[in-house]
Symmetry: C2
Subunit: 218 residues, 2 copies
Amino acid sequence: MLSFTEENYLKALLHITIEVEHKNEAGTNELASYLGVKPATATDMLKKLKEKKLIVYEKYGKISLSGSGREKAVEILRKHRLWETFLHEKLDFSWDEVHEVAEQLEHIQSQKLVDKLDKFLGFPEYDPHGDAIPNAKGELKPSFRKTLSEVKEGTTCRMVAVKDNTVAFLKYVSQLELGINTHIKVIGRQPYDGSMEIVINSNTIVVSQKFADNILII
Amino acid sequence: MLSFTEENYLKALLHITIEVEHKNEAGTNELASYLGVKPATATDMLKKLKEKKLIVYEKYGKISLSGSGREKAVEILRKHRLWETFLHEKLDFSWDEVHEVAEQLEHIQSQKLVDKLDKFLGFPEYDPHGDAIPNAKGELKPSFRKTLSEVKEGTTCRMVAVKDNTVAFLKYVSQLELGINTHIKVIGRQPYDGSMEIVINSNTIVVSQKFADNILII
DNA sequence: ATAAAAAGTTAGGTATATCTAACTTGTAAA
DNA sequence: TTTACAAGTTAGATATACCTAACTTTTTAT
Ligand SMILES: [Mn+2]
Ligand SMILES: [Mn+2]
Ligand SMILES: [Mn+2]
Ligand SMILES: [Mn+2]
């Protein structure tokens, strides 16, 4: 049985190595900073995870998930996204409130609970942020989504997800009346700093490149 | 913020001092044995809980919950019973499976989650074992229930709850096709060891006094 | 090729929650 | 009222998860 903390390290590694960059390996400092701990703390945990054969790692080298490590991580991600869906669909939690609570719920240990919850929700394929939910076999659909900052001027796209799950970001998104499936038209892009002029619900606004980098669209 | 473990000690104290015996105080060994830890471990935790003013306690003396300690404990009990109700009503968990999972879910920290869950369930008053669920104000209905072993011969009663939540006990109960609201007729009682002859769903069976002591009826 | 910077590890320390073994206190029986 | 046993505490370990400060290795730039 893995501890709460071990689970969070595995999920963080999945996020860094596959979900975000498709680069398949992570560094100690990168992992530590993602988890909000010091590199020394991460090093200790890496030794433990290696001992348990959940990661592939050599001293001073890069880190990647082993087969069983990836399986565990995907299972935790599955629980996280199922709980987010539950909170949003059944308990009327808003889009920006589900993540924090799901961070706790994802660690509840009960295979039966996961299966029953999945069924209760009608075997959903996407969570409230538009991210794919791994199925019971641990299969995670690859997503070929682009960010808003990659969209050509003059084009209209549709928001499907966000990359950043911080409360500050999600509040900003809500404020702009932006949500899953909202249509966004790109009017122009400022070459100096990449800020973009866009139209949302007939309102023309300007957003920073940093913001546009974190909005995923189709 | 209380740790998972501190919460379990408070809930245990509520159970020992109020729920079961109405005696309002507990001993160190009694508490330790209830929680499955050694008395030395409990002593350490008692010092910490006293420091936080959650219990009233002097070295070598009896233990009782303070006002704020009782409040916390009732809130955890409320969460435990709401989750048990959710698992049984919405996810089709059977009667004897809900307790273990609720032991984990009761520690999720989110006031909003508790409120929304309560509403989603229709503000239930009783959990799947027939125990009263404290309301949002922390009010816990006193229950004046008797045990099956106190029922007079020739009388028919109705099961409303169980006292013992162990898997072994609950499995036995299920095996006998006994559940909330099942009618039980008491035929006779063996003076030697208190075992009772009873009728459940037209089947006449004999159960031990230990068993009858753990079936609550009206 | 070397030096500086970045990345990563080790040593030693804290806090929580647990244990065993030895000790102290309270109570009930002789 | 003394004594024995039950009840409870303390001391000293262990394991997890975190920290800071100092050290080592790898990478990058001159
Ligand atoms: Mn999330
Ligand atoms: Mn988590
Ligand atoms: Mn229960
Ligand atoms: Mn618990």
